[in-house]
């Protein structure tokens, strides 16, 4: 009995310590945090995202040149990489994930900024768009992947790939060479040509390549691009979305599940 109490006490202390540490690393929102975030932004982010955060930094143009993507305009634009429904702003966690993981091909991972610095930058980014004060982005329910795919996971996924016309943009074999992509019809929010993601190359997935990432991309869509949200189509049958995820993973030679 005594030992049990001690164990609980120990767990409580450790949990409490972790909680306070996590809390301590995330600075309180406020003027000081934003100012510090601005200072970091001016050293690390300004080159692509620009002095005013409009995505027009001195190096911004060369990234996409005459095609998408350009660096994010923090003052008005939508965010592609979110856990929130289409049209909503991202959560702070979403912004933290993007800064930490980077965007393959286009933005480096800034995990070299410590956690506190990343939160400070996020506070500054949010201060650039007044919409963050008016809206409260709420993440969608994004469950963990099931431990095992259903028996016909990949087959079902292939059927959904056809049913949801993923091939239109991503191509029959997922190589990003669907008819709309090949014809150059796809455009981003600035009417810049954009190509569909090559689903056979997970290292190029902007929103991440884990099953959870794929599920999130399918459900939320990538705002500012032609990739729509499928959450409403999967409503009530979310488990089917995992079959599509397994199929997408099978295209890339990643371990199927």
């Amino acid at each position: 009995m005594h030992r049990r109490v001690l164990r609980y006490l120990a767990i409580l202390i450790v949990t409490g310590f972790c909680a306070t540490t996590a809390q301590a690393l995330r600075p309180k929102d406020g003027r000081d945090t934003i100012t510090e975030g601005h200072r970091i932004y001016d050293r690390a982010c300004v080159w692509c995202h620009g002095t005013e955060g409009k995505g027009d930094g001195p190096s911004g143009w060369s990234i996409g040149r005459y095609a998408a993507p350009r660096p994010r305009d923090f003052t008005a634009e939508s965010y592609k990489l979110r856990s929130t429904p289409s049209g909503e702003l991202p959560t702070d966690q979403d912004l933290f994930r993007t800064i930490t993981q980077g965007i393959p091909g286009f933005m480096p991972s800034y995990r070299s900024l410590n956690e506190q610095e990343r939160w400070q930058v996020i506070a500054y980014l949010k201060s650039l768009n007044p919409a963050f004060e008016q809206e409260q982005p709420t993440p969608m329910v994004l469950p963990s992947p099931p431990l095992f795919p259903s028996g016909n996971g990949i087959t079902n996924g292939r059927a959904l790939y056809a049913k949801y016309e993923c091939r239109t943009c991503h191509g029959d074999n997922g190589a990003g060479d669907g008819p709309e992509s090949k014809a150059g019809h796809l455009r981003d929010a600035y009417n810049l040509p954009i190509t569909a993601t090559d689903l056979t190359d997970p290292s190029s997935f902007k929103n991440g390549a884990t099953p959870h990432d794929l599920y999130r991309s399918i459900m939320t869509g990538l705002d500012g691009t032609p990739m729509p949200a499928y959450a409403d189509q999967f409503a009530g049958q979310e488990e089917a979305a995992w079959d599509l995820v397994w199929y997408l993973q099978s295209l890339s030679g990643q371990p199927g599940r």
């Binding site: 634009e77 939508s78 049209g87 016309e165 500012g224 032609p226 729509p228 189509q233």
Partner: protein, 239 residues
């Protein structure tokens, strides 16, 4: 004593809107927007996808004028300076349907807070991509026979409605912070109710022809009928 208290309480509860509504005479503006310019036959574009259902070509009408009345269809008429507070919600959802590879209606107008309901009646997949400038309002996949997608309007302004899968599909959605607006029908007619008497500024907006404004005097009570001719010189970029 008691009845007075009750009246005061009632007044406070109902708020100034109820009082205004009870006291002010309300008028309705009925009118027609006409367009003196030539009637376009529409630009014919090739359909590259789902041609078995959508057809091989489609005509895009940017300016639709009724041959009989010269009425301009799809103009959005609004009065922003009406002092009557907006009616309470819920209003009926605003419906935007993907039908026969086109958006119907092509011009929708709604009020902030109102639900937009997106439907797909077609046997082919569409994606309804609505945005204002660089900000996406919603971009949802609409597979055949899917249930409607609903989303409340949040920001006033002019939204572009597109289908990325069918590039020729275009529509416009206009959101207001008040209910004093109307979209002209196929004869060019519109109607705006609940207007206070006096002079009002009527704003007419058309997605191709642009914006112009005109002052209108609304009499106390009743209905006033006007015909407004769209000036040919309106700058299309002044949206």
């Amino acid at each position: 004593m008691k009845p007075i208290l009750l009246t005061v309480t009632l007044c406070v509860m109902l708020g100034p809107s109820a009082l205004l509504r009870a006291e002010s005479p309300m008028s309705t503006l009925v009118g027609r927007i006409t367009y003196p310019g030539p009637i376009e036959s529409g630009q014919v574009v090739a359909v590259t996808r789902d041609s078995s259902f959508c057809g091989t070509t489609t005509a895009i009408h940017t300016v639709t004028v009724n041959a009989k009345t010269r009425g301009l269809q799809g103009a959005v008429v609004s009065i922003d300076d009406n002092t009557v507070p907006a009616a309470d919600f819920p209003r009926r959802p605003l419906v935007l349907t993907n039908t026969r590879c086109a958006f119907s209606p092509r011009i929708v107008a709604g009020e902030v807070g109102q639900q937009l309901e997106i439907r797909n009646d077609d046997p082919v997949m569409h994606n309804t991509h609505i945005s204002m400038g660089p900000r996406t309002f919603v971009n949802v996949a609409m597979i055949p026979a899917s249930r409607p997608v609903e989303k409340p309007l949040k920001q006033p302004g002019i939204y572009l409605v597109q289908c990325d899968a069918h590039k020729f599909m275009r529509a416009t959605m206009v959101a207001f912070t008040h209910p004093f607006f109307s979209v002209t029908d196929d004869t060019g007619a519109f109607q705006i109710a609940q207007l206070t008497p006096g002079e009002h500024l009527v704003t007419v907006w058309h997605d191709t022809l642009g914006t112009f404004q005109q002052r209108v005097t609304i009499p106390a009570r009743g209905e006033v009928t006007i015909t407004i001719e769209y000036p040919a010189h309106v700058d299309a970029n002044k949206k």
